[in-house]
Amino acid sequence: MSMSKQEQLHSTFPGRAKQIDQILGFMGKPWTPSPPSLLINGNSSLGKTAVVKAVLSTMLGQKSPSRYAFLDCVECHTPRLIFEHAIYQFRNAPKETCLSKTGPSSSSSSGNIQGSLKVTMGDVRQGGNTGIANDKSRKRKRPSTRINHAWDKCENINEFVEWCRRICDDDVDTESADAEQQDEQRPPRGQHDTRYLVLDRAERLRDTAPTLIPVLMRLQELTGRSICVILITTIVWEKFRSKTGGYEPIILNFPQYSKNIYFVSSVVLSILEQDLPESEDKELYMRFADLVYDVFQRNCKDLNEIRHLIALLFPLYIKPVKEGKIQKHEGLKLHRHIQAYFVEAMDKLYLREISSTEWSERALAIASGSSHHKVDSSGHSETAPHRYVTGAPGSERAMMTAMDVQNTFDLPYYTKFILIASFLASYNPPRLDMRYFAKVSNQGGKMTKRAKVSAAKRHGHDQLGSKLRQQLLGPKTFPIERMLAIFYSILDEDVEENIHVHTQIASLVSLRLLQRITPMDKLDSIKCKCNVSYDTIKALAKSTKFDIDKYLYDFV
């Protein structure tokens, strides 16, 4: 019986057989002593949470007062929440979680791609955690509907330790009743089943209470009962150690999935295969998944991100096939067709500059727009496919850049110059202001390269473009007077009313484009920092036809 469970787990989680066996080995029979604490360690999206959850729910899921509690430390951000949730879960039957729900195959069930995409995103981004949270909060509000125990209060570690003892002892009685029905080996008398307390994203535990981690590590010793604490985290154990030390957990490392090109059975691809939408060609899908993984794994090993990208990009990939413009087997053509989208996806989608629904809507709109075009101008049908393959991404790119411009806010004319002036004040050394901005100087604003180099030498820098230039170090603070001087210098016309300039500065500060360093109640000698990036200021300068590069010292 347990063998089949093990095999089932192995098949659900490709490439994780060794880790599953190790965890199962540590668990052993329900009543065998377990290690006091385990630390499961690995990069994000390597199936740590899913594996632990599935192992526990398949092995212990049927037992009625739950043998395990699964908590997320982001959700339970105070010790009290951790204790109360743990007690609640231990005293009630486990939630009906089956393998198919927790496994990575969860999102592929619906045939509709759009639908499956939404499920994927919900599942992928939240890791299914919101589901738990909602579930729990619902239960908390109406404790009488689904449960036999009310919500128990537990405020501190002391009470929690006592609760743990009580929970384990409660069960010795029920178990002996249980054992008669089961024909498995009977546990020794007086022994209770091991309880598992799983804490996901355990790195957050460090922020809660200083003694919490040492206590959890030796909960078994403190309670005198068999309780195993499993921490799941992305960071190394060294970061958890407290000042006086404590019990060290057994560390279990989840390595990165491998994609070995020489073998057909690649772990990554078999994981991605589980997302295969129904009614889609498997071979085509796998080819696409392979392609996406190869393109994106250079900067992103997160499989969830890649699944997300595949789900979004696949409709675009198969669109020409569905429309009959490109045959399935014409891999190169398809590749060329999708290539342009990859660049867009990298910039926009991967960085989440726009939401994925927005992106897919727009991409599909463009694609269908071009097909509309084809329908309309059915006379030129022979040019249409060509137009589609190369034209669509191009028009999309135009739209994206338009969007970027929209993103950059528009400011009044003088305010733009104030911002430019403060950028110059933040990044230029004050000593060189004379050279750049003095109006009497005949070479004002026209500092030659040689002059720059000599200026640099005089100020102790070896050369321009060094690794410690201001461009890299970030903005410096400047007195507002200096900025104003630069402002009047770079502005050719006269600004008569000084008061408006100061209002503009105030509004820039409130927009967070300028950062005020001196406290707000200090009205004299204000000091500021420019909070704007070089790219933004360049766009701004361009819109005012101001050549900012001429005035910047030591910029690359």
Binding site: P35, I157, N158, N253, K467, Q471
Partner: protein
Amino acid sequence: MATEELISMAKSAILARLSEQSLPPYLVGIEEQYKKVLGLMKRTIEMGESNSCLLMGPRGTGKTMIIHQALQDLEKQFRIPAGQTISDQDMELDSERKDFMVIQLNGLVQTDDRMALKEIMRQLSREGESEMDTSTTFSDSLPSLMSFLKAGTRAQYPIIFILDEFDLFAQHTKQSLLYNLFDVAQSAEWPIAVVGVTCRMDALELLEKRVKSRFSHRHYYTYPPRNFYDYVEVCQNALLLSQKDLDICQDDDAYMDIVWNSDLKAKAAFMNEFNRRVRSLFEDGGFSKIVQRIFDLMKDVRGFYRLCFGPVAELSKDNPYLRPSQFYETGLQQRVDNKTELLKGISLLELSLLIAIKQLVERETVTFNFEMVYDDYKDFMDMAVVRGSGGSSDGVSLRLYKKAVALKAFEHLVEAELLRPADVSSKGPKEYRMMRVMLDSSQIADVVLKHRDCPTIVARWATRRP
């Protein structure tokens, strides 16, 4: 020969020892300290003498084990089993047999005096010895506890207080719990023994003057195993099976049965064979090298225990005995640097950023920001592209990622706590926030070598001296 049941019994017994749920058959290297602590507790129980002592030593040297062992022995000797009526023939023995109470507190759990007091009340009332109402406030319950304790005479039940993580109790405000406990111990009204356990060698210095003067200044030290032989003996003890583990009766009457009872015979044979294998395990060269290495590194028995969990859990009907080969892999696993393991799975872009950081650090730019790292990365990529080797020397094309993509990778490194902000309150754009790297440059070089798909040009960049 070895049945399923026997193996699972053996496994349970060994795992219980490894997880420190049960005690080893005998103590090694700390017999002296054990005798002293036991004697102290015994005197409290037998003579009604009040005592206090402090047990100090590094973690994993057996302090808690001494306490548990002592309590277990006392239990056997003095505890009157519940429900047993004193028979006539025991009358003279009765004067020696005395019941006693144990109150165990832990500084990690009882984080303030109020909680500790509540816990004392709870443990007292559980033992059925006090009918005090558990008043809620500290100021109410402390006097009632104290009056309860002080009202007693020497004839009362002795109480043994175990204060684990003693140093944390000393950090409570005013140390009122410690003061009162030591005060009761000193005034010799109710026989109590206060045993503090701590891993801080300077725990005594933490005590206030008034508390310190009431402490008896008895302290015992535990040390890690002095030499390798002691260490091996401790390790071996945990793995060897004893007769108790397999439910083999030790009574003389039963011994006669063993000869006839085939079931017990099989058990005894399995035990002997298992123990023989364990002993030969420690003679194995590779295995003892692993043990030696743990001993050299930390002298901590728990290090060995952690190593054993996996192999012991693997015992099954087909593999009833421990084999040295099982330990080789787990030994290796323990030795790996977890950070390097974690880093093996990062993407090429993240690796490139780490190499850039390494270059910066080697140029003695210890604190850096994202812009500096990106600038270095960009320089390298420009060079790689100019040389043309970025194209297809490894069949992969290197490409310069945009700043925003690189920033995301950089933030991932921060999230994994491989980078840490250099100053606490840093304002301003995050690209310019100064960072420190939490890795050694040799670790980075190591990762580059081990990374699965790192192009040679990037690897060469990593080894280049600035």
